[in-house]
């Protein structure tokens, strides 16, 4: 087995016993179960729509914060691993996957199991998108967490940056976009807005989900443009590429910093 595989194997073993991860899975389990019970399990669309709002906030928050903390906590152990005959790039890949995979699994189990129990397959395509989007956001924000913790020597500063990144992307970004839209309301904004949506992984995830849930009609002309561009094959391709870049670029930057870092 490769070095990455070996590291991953033991990181997975450790992570699957971690309390925060179990709590994270339980959180989605309870939330999903409750939403299915109260929202009516027959179609499940309402549950998916509500879960979307929860997931778009919680998945980035938890993966960024706990990811950053995990890297700082493992600092001494990482040094011990680096003193073994292993290449830094392989180690980085193993550590990253060792966080991203269990986090994604916890999300899939937390949301997937209640749906499997209650039914609610009326929203099958929405549910599938929700699960995919959750996994993608986990990959993106784990990569960002690793990048932050590798670049910031100080733990407190790193955590501050992590919270700042989450705040900016999950909350402030939408406000800024809205402000922009209001200020330039007299201009045709659909395409610039579309670009702005694609530029933020959380917004991209939201738009992709809304289109799946056939709520685009609620968004008027803008929704129509979004549907036209993002609804088709080209749109899916753009979304996949954008999320791929949002994962790949931080992983690449983080690994480069990790390879050059003085521990």
């Amino acid at each position: 087995m490769t070095v990455t595989g070996q590291v991953l194997r033991y990181e997975l073993r450790g992570a699957l016993r971690a309390r925060w991860l179990i709590a994270y899975a339980l959180f989605f389990l309870i939330a999903t179960d409750a939403l299915l019970r109260f929202g009516g399990a027959e179609d499940g669309v309402r549950a998916v729509a509500s879960l979307m709002n929860v997931a778009l906030l919680v998945v980035p928050l938890v993966t960024t914060i706990f990811g950053t903390i995990a890297v700082y906590n493992a600092r001494e152990f990482t040094e011990l691993l680096l003193a073994q005959p292993v290449a830094r790039r392989d180690l980085y890949a193993g550590l990253y996957l060792g966080l991203a995979l269990p986090s994604a699994t916890a999300f899939l189990v937390g949301v997937g199991v209640p749906f499997a129990l209650h039914g609610g397959y009326g929203a099958a395509s929405g549910l599938a998108t929700l699960l995919l989007v959750g996994v993608a956001l986990t990959a993106v924000f784990s990569a960002i967490a690793f990048l932050i913790a590798t670049r910031c020597e100080e733990r407190v500063r790193g955590l501050g940056v992590a919270i700042g990144v989450w705040l900016a992307m999950a909350l402030l970004y939408d406000g800024a976009v809205l402000l922009l839209a209001t200020l330039f309301a007299d201009y045709p904004l659909e395409r610039p807005l579309l670009a702005l949506m694609v530029a933020n992984p959380i917004d991209l995830a939201r738009v992709a989900l809304l289109l799946r849930l056939d709520s685009a009609a609620l968004m008027g002309y803008t929704g129509a443009v979004f549907k036209q561009v993002l609804g088709g094959t080209a749109g899916i391709t753009i979304a996949v590429i954008a999320l791929g870049l949002w994962t790949g670029v931080p992983v690449w930057l983080g690994r480069r910093a990790f390879e050059r870092k003085d521990f």
């Binding site: 590291v7 033991y10 011990l80 003193a83 005959p85 003085d262």
Partner: protein
């Protein structure tokens, strides 16, 4: 054997190592001593490849310390702080490091026995006391019969019996031909174990040679006094 040649390292404006030349021989224990901030940790980290020097080079049994990690298969490292993944057991930890080294999961039954570690090895590492974790740390460092041992404050947190066991283990590795690099703030411990001493001050080696010679040169009976003498001479 570890050969260090013209090693320099700066962190921003601070020059931590300013041209260190040092040879640490197989079959001998070399103590690296010096006041806080003298560059001891940076020197050790450079040997392990954790810190990249700005200039100079390090050879370990003739192999250069650099981008190829293969040379680290010769090294056993015992860090000062024993912090391991919380949810793995000691046994899993040993298996993990063995797999990374491409080695069989060796077991030093004798050391496990003397440290009374058989039972704790089955428990999650987070539940072990600091001293017990330090014992696991020691077992890990010696596990693959390394040619070079880097031990950073190895007896910190150990009870006297375990500390004695560890010292026996260090002496045995030395007698088997390993080059042992040791740091400690406990001078009596260094006195007991060290054959050679490298005195580091402000990023330079101020003395390197046999402990016995240092005592003769400074006309002191103990290593502690001899080092103190060196420091006061430097200050003068």
């Amino acid at each position: 054997m570890i050969l260090i040649d013209g090693l320099e390292k700066r962190f921003g404006p601070v020059e931590v190592l300013r041209g260190v030349d040092l040879a640490m021989l197989g079959g001998r224990v070399t103590a690296i001593v010096g006041p806080n901030g003298a560059g001891k940790t940076t020197l050790i980290k450079a040997i392990l490849g954790l810190t990249r020097p700005d200039a100079g080079r390090i050879l370990i049994d003739g192999e250069p310390v650099g981008d190829d990690p293969a040379y680290r298969a010769r090294i056993g490292y015992m860090p000062q702080i024993a912090r391991f993944p919380e949810n793995l057991t000691g046994r899993e930890l040993l298996a993990m490091v063995a797999s990374l080294r491409g080695a069989e999961v060796a077991r030093d039954e004798e050391l496990l026995e003397r440290f009374a570690l058989h039972e704790p090895m089955e428990k999650p590492l987070r539940t072990l006391s600091g001293g017990t974790r330090q014992k696991v740390n020691a077992v890990l460092a010696f596990l693959f019969t390394p040619r070079v041992l880097v031990l950073d404050e190895p007896t910190t947190g150990l009870d006297p019996a375990s500390s004695a066991t560890l010292k026996d283990k260090i002496a045995a590795a030395r007698n088997a031909g390993a080059a042992v690099v040791l740091t400690s703030h406990v001078m009596s411990e260094l006195e007991e174990l060290a054959d050679d001493v490298a005195f580091l001050l402000e990023g330079r080696i101020r003395y390197a040679g046999p402990v016995r010679q240092l005592k003769l040169d400074t006309r002191q009976f103990t290593l502690e006094r001899a080092i103190a003498r060196l420091m006061s001479e430097e200050a003068a």
